[in-house]
Every structure is written in structure tokens, then in C-alpha cells.
């Protein structure tokens, strides 16, 4: 193609060249014609003058080639036609050849000049063309720039050119803006301040003006712009105007602002974090995903005595730690941080022991938590350390103090439980072993009078508890122990004066000796010796404990002594009581047996008297006069009365003596049975008896209860005014009584009310005694034992008796017996 084009162009050039040569020939022929026409005028003068014209025309038009052709042709034609001789080429003389030569020279010169003119013209045309082209491209470039507003202003700031970018950015079309002053791009405030003019001046004087500032669009909206103004000068250096390049960087500015804000925020955040970290009372450091420690707070540096730079978990070997549980060292891979980073493990408060970088041992709680990004990858891990060394120490101290307290308490308890001095001392030593590292101990009680010491518990040099040793074998004369104090011999070997036993102890391998005095009531009564087989085995705490124990021992030993004394007295007293009780019991039994046998033995002769009296009356009654009969009857009556007395006495004494079995019994049944037995008496006295049935069941003994009730009813029947019909009312009620079993026990109270003669309150206690009678035997015969039996019987059944009465108003006797409860 290119080749084709160049061929076509070449052909065009050749044709144009041929055309130029044709023009040259033509104008030569025309010149010949013109000369021929002018020949009449000119004759033979200036034969070649006219031919200069075709030369000039050809050279001007066609350049050097056609010019030379026209020159040659014109010379030939002129010479042939107009140089004498005409119509031939022969020349004569010098003038004609000179003329021809001049003509040729002129022709060549003209051709050459024209050639160079044509060349120059062609060159300048080419330059102009390319210039035009480049200008057009440049304009295109400028006009097509859309991101920048590029425009020209004249000296006064009026817009003279406008590109697409300017239209886009500022909103004015080219037509609208050309000729307007550029201050319309400024904000009104700046216009007010005459900023546009100042800018132009600055640009003109400094050759440059640039700023970032607000500019205003056609619609009045503002944008953030970078503006560059450059003055434009012409070739002479005269100021022609200004170029203005404006760019809308609102977006960029916003982005930058956002970025800056973000950066500020993150800076703040970091600051905040660091502040928080530094104020935290716990140690914190943050590692990146590779294990490099990025950030560490003040506390963690304090805890560890500095934190070394570490790049990876392998370097955590610098951190020395042990598991509290088993004291095994913590390998780099075992650290909570490593596990957080590698396995994403969260570890909370693992208790470990550490050796810090300033070589302190501490106990810390170590926690580590991984931090993951959105994708879930572990990007960081946070380690939190809490120094619990003090707490641990406090706990340990507490534990030890607790242990010590517990031991002391236990010793107290044991001492309290112990009954003898020996028990007290051995209890103390036994428990002391738990808090004191002694290998041998002994509690010694001094007997200064005998210059002896008794070993209460423990042992020394083969001497065991219970044995006594001479004081001088044990006591340090040169170092008497003050009362209530502790003496500590760190090493027996260093002791100059060693009593026999202490020397033996040393030989047997005992080195440390801790001695505490036992002081009771301001008197040194003994010592507590603690031996250990290593020198300087006891610390301050041990000495305190020893002193404390010695004090306890002193009190306890004193107490034990008192207790032993007391025990002795008590035992003696108890024995005395037992002896006396036995004596009393046997005396009582004897008395009772005596009473019984007296009553019993009395009865045999009495029965004889009764029988003999009756026999006398039966067999010999008719031989007595009235008086004799009366006397015999009196004997019989007295015998009967004595018999009743003996019967009652025996009944009463049996009540006291026999064992009684209590069981639920029916009051109703017993009252009914009693009344049946007393039927005869009731009938003979024509008594009225009212019973409020049903009567409840009670705890009692059937036979005794019958005796009791019999006596009560007999009493009620007996003690009525003469000629009065006895009226008896029997009822029962539940009360919360006070029996011999105690207060508030549910009881049944059985009432027997009569309409009898009543009892003066002053006698009401007396009547329940044995042989107590308020009336003469003639008025109301009786033994005075009935109510005593009532009381004794009820008391034997765990109840009480009583009476409510006024003389002449009847009596209300009551007996209180236990109600049946579920426990029976």
C-alpha cells in the first residue's frame, strides 16, 4: 500500500515536472512570437531581451530545470532568429557572443534563484503545515482534557479559552464563559476580599500561583480545588495573560480527610489502648501471629522484670515457668500464648510459677486469648498475667496459721478431754508433732523440794514417761529459764556446760533444743523440751508455738491437778453416798420388814383375842351380866379396830415396798368395779352416786388404783353429817398437769366430790399423812391411813393428789394420773 501511494505520488511529481517543462517551452515560443511581433519596432536591437521573460516565468514556475530549459531554448531561438545573421547560428563579432553569454548567465542565475525560492517556499510551507498540525493536536489535547479545567485569561483575568474539563468541572459552556472575568469561579467571600485580583498579581510577580481552596461552580455549589496560575508572556517578554489549571479534588480531599480521620481515630484508639493497658493492674502483652511481642504494658514489665523482644514462640524459652500443680517446667510450646497462636486455644487463669528476668520467683495467673480476623485467621494473641504471689503468700500464711490454730485448738481439745496430767501432756506432744519438726520431746514437771523432775510425757535418753530424774541431770544452771519464756539452743554441741541427759541426747544425735517453761500461778512447775536431730531446726514460729503450747500445758496441767483433786473428792463423796445409801436402804428395808413382820406378828395374837373373845361370848355369854357382856364386846371391838389398823398399815407398807407395773387402765372399769365391791356400804348409807361417763383411760396400776378409789369413796361415804344422805359425784377432765414426769404433761384429773362435812383448809395438807385423823374415833371411826394410801398409791403411779374443800361445804378430792399417749 505504502509503496503504491509513493508510486502515485512520484507519478504526480513527474507529471507536474513535465507540465513545468511544457510551460517553459510554451512561454519560449510565446516570447518568440512576441519578438516577432515586436520585430518591426525593435529590429535587430535587443534580440534576447524579450526572451528573459520566458526564462523568468519558467524558472519562477518550474524551478531550475524548466528555467534552464527556457534559457537554452530562448538562447537558441533568439540566436537563430534575431542575432545577425538572422536565421542562422553563425555569429559575428564579439558583441553577439557576449550578448548570448550574458543572456545565458542571466537565465542560469534566474533559474537558480527561483529554484532556491521555490525550495524555500516549499520548506516554509511544509513547516507551516506541520506547525498547524501540531497546533491542532495540541488544542485537541487541551480541549479533550476532562479532569482538568484549563483555560487562558487575558491580562485582566477575562477568560479567552475554555476546555471540556473546565466545562465539566465548572459547569459553564465555552460560549457562556468566553470574555467573562474569572472571579466568578471564586466564592463570594473571596471576591469580596478581592482575592481574584490578588491571585493574578501574585502569579504575575512571582511567575506562579498555586493553592488548594474552595471554588464555586455555575450552579453555586462549591468544590475543593487545586489551582495553578501561570503567567503567559510573548516573545518580547510582554505579559499576555495567564493560564489557569484547576482540578476538582473534593473526592480526593474527602478520601484524605477520611483517611486522616481514620488515622487520627486509630491513633487515639492506640493511645487509649496503651493508656488502658498501662493503668491496668494486670500485666498484658499482645503478640502478632508469628509470636512477636508487639505491645506490652507497664504491669507486665513489672511482673516479669522486663519483657525481652521475642520474634517467635521458640524464643519463649527465655521465659522461665513451672506448672504449680506438678512443678514441671513449661516448654515454649506449652505456654498459653503459644497454644493461643498455634491452636487458637483460649486459656484462662492457669496458675504457674515463674522466675522473672530480675530473678524473683512469683506465682501468676496466666491467660491467653487468640484474636482472629474476619476470615478467622489468628492475627494476634493477648496474654494477661496476674501476679498472685502476695495472695499466695497470704494464703500460705493463712493456711499455716490456720493449721497452727487448728493444731493448737486440737491440743486444747485434747487437753480438755484428757483427764490426768499425763494424758494432757501426751495429748499435747502427739498433736504438736504435726506443726513442729521435733524428733524427740518431753514434758517435765519439777519437784524442787526433792530436786527431781518427773517425766509426764515423751522421753529423754531412754527415760520414759512416769520416771523421775535428778534435776541437775537436766537443768542448765548457768542458763536458768525465766518464767514464761523460751530458750533455744541451736546446737547442743556448742553448749559448754551440758547436764548429763543433754549430753546423752547430743551423743544420740540430737542437735537443736527448744525449751519452754511451764508456769502455773506464777510458779515454774515444769518445762517442755523439744529436740531435733539437725542443728538450728526451729524457727521463730516454732518458738512461738512452743511458748503457746507451754502456756496451754500450764493451764491444762493446773486444771488436771485440780480435776484430779476434784475427782478424788468426788469419788470419795460418791463412795460415801453409796455407802450411806446402802446403809439407809438396808435400814429402810429392815424397818419395812420390821413393820411388816410387826404388823403380821401382831395380827396372830390379835386374831386369837378376836377368836377367844367370840368363843367366850358364845360359850359363856349367858353367864355374864350386862356389864360383863359389854366388856367382852369391847374387847372384840378393840380387836377388830386393831385388825383394821393392821390391815391398813400392811396395805400402806406394801404400797411403798412392792414394785409397780404401770399400764393403760380404764378409769371407768375401775370405778365400776370398786363400786361393786363397796355395794354393801353404798346401800347401807343410801348414798347417791353420780358418775359422768365415760371416764377416760389412764396410765396406772389396776390394783393400786382400786385401793385409791376405794379409799376416796369410803371417805366420801363416811364423812357426812349425821342423818345426811351422802351424794357423791365422780368425773374426770383432761389437764396439762405437773406430774412427777414434769410440767405440761397431759394428765387426767379424776374428781370425787361429796356433800360431806368438809375440811378446814389448814388441815388439808395434813390429811394425806399416815395416822392423821381429824375426828374422834367415836364420831368417824378410822385408822387415819386411808388418805395416806391414796396419796402413796397415786404418787407411785406418777401422779398427784389434792383436795378443795371448806368446812360444811363438802370436799372435792382429785387425783391426777398420766394420760395415755402414743409413746406408751
Amino acid at each position: 500500500m505504502i509503496k503504491g501511494v509513493s508510486i502515485v505520488m512520484m507519478q504526480q511529481t513527474q507529471r507536474s515536472q513535465l507540465f513545468h517543462y511544457g510551460v517553459a517551452i510554451t512561454v519560449c515560443l510565446l516570447a518568440l512570437l512576441l519578438r516577432l511581433l515586436l520585430a518591426p519596432l525593435l529590429q535587430e536591437n535587443a534580440p534576447l531581451l524579450v526572451f528573459i521573460i520566458p526564462v523568468m516565468i519558467s524558472a519562477w514556475y518550474g524551478g531550475i530545470g524548466p528555467g534552464l530549459l527556457a534559457t537554452a531554448l530562448s538562447a537558441t531561438i533568439g540566436t537563430y532568429f534575431f542575432i545577425e545573421p538572422a536565421l542562422g547560428f553563425s555569429v559575428a563579432g564579439l558583441a553577439e557572443p557576449t550578448r548570448i553569454t550574458i543572456f545565458l548567465t542571466e537565465g542560469i542565475l534566474i533559474s537558480g534563484l527561483n529554484e532556491s525560492r521555490i525550495r524555500a517556499k516549499e520548506r516554509s510551507e511544509a513547516i507551516a503545515t506541520s506547525l498547524r498540525k501540531s497546533e491542532a493536536q495540541y488544542r485537541l489535547l487541551i480541549e479533550s482534557v476532562r479532569d482538568y479545567a484549563i483555560y487562558l485569561m487575558d491580562l485582566n483575568g477575562r477568560v479567552v479559552s475554555w476546555n471540556a474539563g473546565a466545562t465539566q468541572i465548572k459547569g459553564y459552556t465555552t460560549a457562556e464563559i468566553l470574555g467573562r472575568h474569572y472571579s466568578i469561579f471564586f466564592t463570594p467571600e473571596e471576591v469580596e476580599r478581592r482575592k481574584p485580583e490578588a491571585v493574578l498579581e501574585t502569579a504575575a510577580t512571582r511567575g506562579y500561583f498555586a493553592e488548594e481552596n474552595w471554588r464555586q461552580r455555575k450552579d453555586g455549589s462549591r468544590f475543593w480545588a487545586t489551582v495553578v496560575l501561570t503567567p503567559v508572556y510573548d516573545d518580547t517578554g510582554q505579559l499576555q495573560g495567564f493560564t489557569n489549571i484547576t482540578r476538582d479534588i473534593t473526592d480526593r480531599q474527602q478520601a484524605e480527610a477520611a483517611l486522616q480521620q481514620e488515622k487520627a481515630a486509630s491513633d487515639l484508639e492506640r493511645k487509649r489502648l496503651q493508656t488502658v493497658l498501662d493503668i491496668l493492674p494486670v500485666g498484658v502483652f499482645i503478640a502478632d501471629h508469628q509470636g512477636k511481642i508487639l505491645q506490652a504494658n507497664a504491669m507486665i514489665k513489672r511482673i516479669w522484670g522486663g519483657i525481652p523482644a521475642t520474634e517467635s514462640p521458640a524464643e519463649y524459652a527465655q521465659f522461665k515457668g513451672w506448672w504449680t500443680s506438678n512443678k514441671a517446667p513449661i516448654a515454649p510450646s506449652e505456654w498459653a500464648l503459644t497454644r493461643a497462636l498455634t491452636a487458637g486455644e483460649t486459656s484462662i487463669e492457669e496458675e504457674i510459677e515463674i522466675e522473672t528476668f530480675d530473678h524473683n520467683h512469683k506465682v501468676i495467673l496466666n491467660s491467653a486469648v487468640p484474636i482472629r480476623d474476619e476470615a478467622g485467621a489468628i492475627v494476634n494473641a493477648v496474654v494477661v498475667n496476674v501476679d498472685i504471689t502476695r495472695r499466695k503468700q497470704a494464703e500460705e500464711a493463712m493456711r499455716r496459721s490456720g493449721e497452727r490454730l487448728a493444731a493448737l485448738h486440737e491440743i486444747d481439745q485434747a487437753i480438755l478431754r484428757a483427764e490426768s496430767s499425763q494424758e494432757v501432756a501426751s495429748a499435747a506432744l502427739e498433736r504438736l508433732r504435726r506443726v513442729m519438726p521435733y524428733s524427740q520431746a518431753v514434758v517435765i514437771i519439777f519437784d524442787f523440794a526433792a530436786q527431781q523432775a518427773e517425766l509426764l510425757a515423751g522421753g529423754i535418753d531412754g527415760e520414759t514417761a512416769g520416771s523421775t530424774v535428778p534435776l541437775d541431770q537436766l537443768m542448765l544452771k548457768s542458763m536458768p529459764l525465766a518464767q514464761g519464756s523460751v530458750r533455744y539452743i541451736q546446737d547442743l554441741a556448742t553448749l559448754a556446760e551440758r547436764p548429763l541427759l543433754l549430753n546423752h541426747q547430743l551423743i544420740e544425735g540430737q542437735r537443736s533444743l527448744l525449751t519452754a517453761s511451764i508456769v502455773a500461778q506464777d510458779e515454774l512447775i515444769g518445762e517442755l523440751h523439744l529436740f531435733a536431730s539437725t542443728a538450728d531446726c526451729f524457727n521463730q514460729e516454732h518458738q512461738e508455738i512452743a511458748a503457746e503450747i507451754a502456756n496451754q500445758l500450764a493451764i491444762a496441767l493446773q486444771q488436771a491437778r485440780l480435776r484430779e483433786q476434784l475427782q478424788h473428792y468426788a469419788t470419795e463423796l460418791e463412795q460415801r453416798v453409796i455407802d450411806r445409801t446402802a446403809a439407809l436402804q438396808s435400814a429402810n428395808e429392815e424397818l419395812e420388814a420390821f413393820g411388816y413382820s410387826v404388823a403380821h406378828d401382831l395380827r396372830a395374837p390379835l386374831r386369837a383375842i378376836q377368836g377367844l373373845g367370840n368363843a367366850l361370848l358364845e360359850d359363856y355369854g349367858d353367864q355374864f351380866d350386862e356389864m360383863g357382856q359389854l366388856l367382852v364386846e369391847r374387847i372384840a371391838a378393840s380387836a377388830d379396830q386393831m385388825d383394821t389398823l393392821i390391815t391398813d398399815l400392811l396395805a400402806y407398807s406394801r404400797l411403798s415396798r412392792t414394785e409397780i407395773h404401770l399400764q393403760p387402765v380404764s378409769l371407768g372399769a375401775i370405778v365400776a368395779e370398786t363400786l361393786t365391791q363397796l355395794q354393801q356400804d353404798v346401800q347401807s348409807s343410801q348414798a347417791q352416786i353420780q358418775i359422768d361417763e365415760p371416764l377416760p383411760d389412764v396410765v396406772g396400776n389396776r390394783l393400786i388404783l382400786m385401793q385409791v378409789i376405794t379409799n376416796l369413796i369410803v371417805n366420801a361415804l363416811k364423812f357426812v353429817a349425821p342423818q345426811q344422805q351422802p351424794r357423791i359425784h365422780i368425773w374426770a377432765e383432761s389437764i396439762s398437769g405437773s406430774s412427777s414426769s414434769g410440767q405440761g404433761v397431759p394428765c387426767i384429773r379424776l374428781w370425787v366430790e361429796d356433800n360431806g362435812i368438809g375440811i378446814d383448809p389448814k388441815h388439808q395438807t395434813r390429811i394425806f399423812g399416815v395416822f392423821e385423823r381429824l375426828h374422834g374415833i367415836e364420831t368417824y371411826p378410822g385408822t387415819g391411813i386411808g388418805l395416806a394410801i391414796v396419796r402413796k398409791g397415786v404418787e407411785r403411779m406418777g401422779g398427784r393428789v389434792g383436795v378443795e374443800s371448806q368446812p360444811g361445804q363438802g370436799s372435792r378430792f382429785w387425783i391426777e394420773l398420766l394420760q395415755i399417749t402414743s409413746t406408751l
Binding site: 403380821h600 386369837a608 378376836q610 377368836g611 367370840n614
Partner: protein, 144 residues
């Protein structure tokens, strides 16, 4: 042998009661031979046929023994106890005659094998009733 002829043995140390017993027998018209011993040992010796009591013609074995409880040395209960351990003497009827009304005495006597318990002073009516009850049955048993 009839009721009138069975021999009685009275063990009693109180002459007054012996007197009253004899009077009661008389009043009851009981001519039965009556032997009297005044101590527990004597009673045992009698029943055992020891010493002078080996003469059974003079001291026949009684059908009925009237036994007081309150005896010197060997008490009535002890005599009773001994008697009940003698297989050969099981047929003899023992009646306690005591001035004790004590229930425990009564119960003990019954437990030891006494047939009846009389409370002094004894009267003829009781005597007759008892003799009729115990002697008759014994006699009848013997005749069979």
C-alpha cells in the same frame, strides 16, 4: 374309813389358836383324831415318820394337815415346799391357816400346792365345809 375317823395334823405354835381350833372341831362335831405339832421341824419329822413319829399307830399319817404359816424355825411355806417334794405324801391335803390376809401369801400357798387358805380365827362352819370337800374326796378315792 369315814370323815369322822381320818386323822388330822395341826401345825400351830400358838396355844390360843390350838385352843380355838380344838373348840371349832368340837363345835363342828368332828371327833377325828388330831395330832398337834408346834414347829415346822416337828411337822416334817412327823410326816417323815422320824423318831417317835415312826410309830404310825400312835402317830398316824394325817389325811389333812392344818398348817400355820408363821412358825418358829421352819416356816409354813418351807414345810409346804418340802411336803410337795415327797412323792409318797402327795395324797395328803394341806390347808393353810394363817392370820395373814396378804394376797401374796395366799398366792404363794396356792402355788406351793396348798388346797385351801383359811384366815384366823377359824370357825366351825369353814371347818365342816373344808373337811367335806377334801376328806370325802380323798376317802372315796381310797376306797376305789
Amino acid at each position: 374309813m369315814n370323815n369322822q375317823s381320818v386323822p388330822f395334823l395341826l401345825v400351830e405354835d400358838d396355844p390360843a389358836h390350838i385352843l380355838l381350833f380344838q373348840r371349832a372341831l368340837r363345835k363342828a362335831a368332828m371327833p377325828n383324831p388330831l395330832q398337834i405339832v408346834s414347829t415346822g421341824e416337828a411337822a416334817v419329822a412327823y410326816l417323815n415318820g422320824e423318831g417317835i413319829y415312826s410309830d404310825r399307830l400312835q402317830y398316824p399319817l394325817p389325811h389333812l394337815v392344818w398348817l400355820d404359816l408363821n412358825l418358829p424355825c421352819l416356816s409354813g411355806f418351807e414345810v409346804l415346799e418340802w411336803l410337795k417334794q415327797q412323792p409318797a405324801l402327795q395324797w395328803i391335803t394341806i390347808i393353810i391357816v394363817s392370820s395373814s390376809e396378804n394376797t401374796s401369801d395366799v398366792e404363794q400357798a396356792k402355788a406351793l400346792g396348798a388346797s385351801a387358805y383359811l384366815i384366823k380365827p377359824i370357825n366351825s362352819i369353814d371347818l365342816v365345809r373344808l373337811v367335806e370337800t377334801y376328806v370325802s374326796s380323798n376317802v372315796n378315792n381310797d376306797s376305789k
